[in-house]
């Protein structure tokens, strides 16, 4: 009887829920976006674990593992995205947890977003992204629209 990877299994039965860790990394406190997204995901049936403000990459990865989430949604507005998000990916790899999806939002210029996706971030949602787009992304099993 094999224990399947959660996301790879893809199937969500009556008792199963997507679990997503949402958090703010970096020092800024702009949590409007991450809270609105958390509520929208809850309304879409997702179990959201909100880790709060000023999480370091180390804290994010540890919490994601303890909570056994399918994905991590990071929000940041401080301009530190090119330092902090790659660090999260690196730590996930070190912990042999690269199957945990990482997606992001906040003020992230387009060329940086492209670079982050190249590094393995599943999607970057900039300002003006509709909540529906984020919910659909989760419901597709954290994959970009075709």
């Amino acid at each position: 009887m094999a224990v399947e990877k959660k996301v790879a299994a893809g199937r969500r039965g009556a008792h199963q829920k997507w679990r997503v860790l949402t958090c703010k990394v970096g020092l800024d406190g702009h949590d409007r976006g991450v809270k609105v997204v958390s509520r929208a995901l809850r309304d879409a049936g997702v179990e959201v674990i909100y880790a709060g403000l000023r999480q370091t990459p180390e804290m994010v990865v540890e919490a994601a593992i303890q909570e056994d989430v399918d994905a991590i949604g990071v929000s940041l507005h401080s301009g530190a995205h090119m330092t902090l998000i790659p660090r999260i990916l690196e730590l996930l790899k070190e912990r042999d947890a690269s199957e945990i999806i990482v997606f992001g939002g906040g003020i992230i210029p387009e060329d940086d977003a492209l670079e982050l996706k190249r590094l393995g971030v599943a999607e970057i949602f900039g300002p003006g992204t509709s909540l529906q787009a984020i919910v659909e992304f989760v419901n597709r099993g954290f994959q970009q629209a075709a």
């Binding site: 020092l27 800024d28 409007r32 929208a40 301009g79 530190a80 090119m82 003006g128």
Partner: protein, 550 residues
């Protein structure tokens, strides 16, 4: 039975319903207040000019806080700027001053705002990104190098560590022979809205309030040209609140500062004239103008009636305005120029004392020089070409605007009652009342957008295929590395015994109840870094953790 003749109003109503284009639109302000298709004298029944408006510079100041308003002197163009190192920002300041700007407005980077030195591990990747990095007095000396501090006013956007940066500014003045009494400017220093909205708190509310009161008392005694606190609705609004919430929570915060300072033993008229405010100007044009006018009227009544202030200068609400960052869109970035222009117009029609207009690209990254220039020019066009400065409070008497102003006031008063019922501002922060109200409003706004009940051009209507990326300003890693080297060098160069002793003296003072400003000034003079001073205070005060609310 004789048929009653239709009134002209009834006639209009029938026509407007039957016409090919019946009155339409969403029929609600962003705050959710219903909007009628038409306002008439009926909406102002019993309304008294003397009671509601009065004359400019007269109680209740609805029409403006000064007698001549912009006829006498236009508003102050005050563009918020700062990035990278103190040296780079200093060059930008000199450029802005040469372009006709009258005052400086300092943006600090996140580590400075959160009280960490540039070489702290938590500062990784953030040094110099959203503003200028200041670690010690040395950086502050560089920042204002070659600028005569007695000829300008400086606004500093900083909160938890505000007292430290204030002390540094005083020390920079001293070194160039400018006395504290000659320094003019504003410290944001509004910690309450940090717990409510912006979340850049460090200490628990009580010691934080003490620091604010200490700066208010110090300024009242030593620095008559200084505004020690800028009570801010801007961040409350940007966090997603409605206009009424912004108005109500900001004034409630103002009352909390007044009460705390009175409790510390200072008579209200000794400090109240130096309190200033800071509001957002959002895209809902008339509602914003009404908000500014209602704010003045409310504050005048609060100060005179609730706190028995006798000095008319204590009654007036002076404010700075910034256009709404959240109203900017990533899509079709150039549209942000027109949004900002309308918002600036609302602020001016609302009687602001100073104004910052956002750059169109701020939604993407730090503004480029070109975008910052356009934002500045937007205000200059408004001031010199449109004629808005020619007459005072030109919209007064508008049935709609006066109705809306009354409604804003009523809505705010309802919130004051709810805050009082719950035991005041600190109790409402602790139980999460403000935070919950704002989160609900933010969520409702997003929902309306999703449901297309509200149109945002380029986002859910008139979309275009994404064009080529707009050039943005990037801060290189060299900035961080250079700043880390600088702060380490300062620590080696200074007299570390003296630093150690000043920090201990600060801790001792913090354990008691005396004013902390003198001890802070001593610390910065000895080149203690911001991070070291904050660490000392954290030892005494502890740190705050937010209540969890959704």
């Amino acid at each position: 039975m004789a048929v009653r003749k239709k009134s002209s109003r009834e006639e209009w109503e029938e026509q407007s319903q039957a016409g090919k284009q019946p009155a339409r639109g969403r029929g609600r302000t962003i705050s959710g207040m219903p909007i009628e298709p038409l306002y008439t004298p009926d909406d102002l029944r019993g309304w008294s000019y003397e009671e509601k408006l009065g004359y400019p510079g007269h109680f209740p100041y609805t029409r403006g806080v000064y007698h001549s308003m912009y006829r006498g002197r236009p508003w102050t163009i005050r563009q918020f700027a700062g990035y990278g190192t103190a040296e780079e920002t200093n060059r930008r300041y000199k450029f802005l001053l040469s372009q006709g700007q009258a005052g400086l407005s300092v943006a600090f980077d996140m580590p400075t705002l959160m009280g960490y030195d540039s070489d702290d591990p938590l500062s990784r990747g953030e040094v110099g990104h959203c503003g200028v990095a200041i670690d010690s007095l040395e950086d502050m000396e560089t920042l204002f190098g070659g600028i005569r501090l007695d000829t300008i006013t400086t606004s500093m956007t900083i909160n938890s560590p505000a007292a430290i940066l204030y002390a540094m500014y005083i020390a920079v003045g001293e070194k160039s022979g400018v006395k504290p009494a000659q320094l003019g400017g504003t410290l944001q220093n509004d910690i309450l809205k940090e717990y409510i909205a912006q979340k850049e708190y460090i200490f628990p509310p009580e010691p934080s309030m003490r620091l604010v009161v200490d700066t208010i008392v110090f300024a009242a005694r030593e620095m008559p040209r200084w505004n020690p606190v800028s009570i801010s609705g801007y961040h409350i609004r940007e966090a997603g609140s409605t206009a009424i919430q912004e108005l109500a929570f900001t004034l409630a915060d103002g009352m909390a500062y007044v009460e705390a300072t009175i409790k510390a033993g200072m008579p209200v008229d000794d400090f109240a004239p130096r309190l200033s405010f800071f509001f957002d100007s959002h895209i809902d044009f008339f509602e914003e103008i009404a908000k500014f006018r209602a704010a003045r009227r409310l504050w005048a009544h609060i100060m005179r009636d609730r706190y028995q202030a006798k000095d008319p200068r204590s009654w007036i609400l002076r404010f700075h305005t910034q256009t709404a960052g959240v109203s900017l869109t990533r899509q079709q970035v150039e549209n942000n120029i027109s949004r900002t222009a309308y918002e600036a117009l609302a602020a001016v029609l609302g009687g602001t004392q100073s104004l910052h207009t956002n750059s169109m690209d701020e939604v993407l990254a730090l503004p480029t020089e070109r975008a910052a220039q356009i934002a500045l020019r937007t205000q200059q066009v408004l001031a010199h070409e449109t004629g808005v400065t020619e007459t005072i409070d030109p919209l007064a008497g508008s049935y709609y605007l006066e109705h809306l102003t009354d409604e804003m006031e009523r809505g705010a008063r309802r919130y004051f009652e709810r805050v009082d019922e719950q035991g005041g501002v600190l109790a409402c922060i602790e139980n999460g009342f403000f935070q919950r109200e704002i989160a609900d409003a933010a969520f409702e706004f997003e929902r309306q957008l999703e449901a297309n009940e509200r149109i945002v051009v380029g986002v859910n209507a008139y979309q275009e295929k994404e064009g080529s990326p707009v050039p943005t300003l990037k801060i290189g890693r060299e900035t961080e590395q250079g700043q880390v080297r600088r702060v380490k060098a300062v620590r080696e160069r200074r007299d570390n015994t003296s630093v150690q002793n000043r920090l201990v003296e600060l801790k001792v003072a913090a354990r008691g109840s005396q004013n902390l400003m003198p001890a802070l000034i001593d610390c910065v003079r000895a080149y203690a870094t911001e991070g070291e001073i904050m660490a000392a205070l954290k030892e005494v005060f502890g740190v705050y953790r937010e209540p969890i609310l959704f």
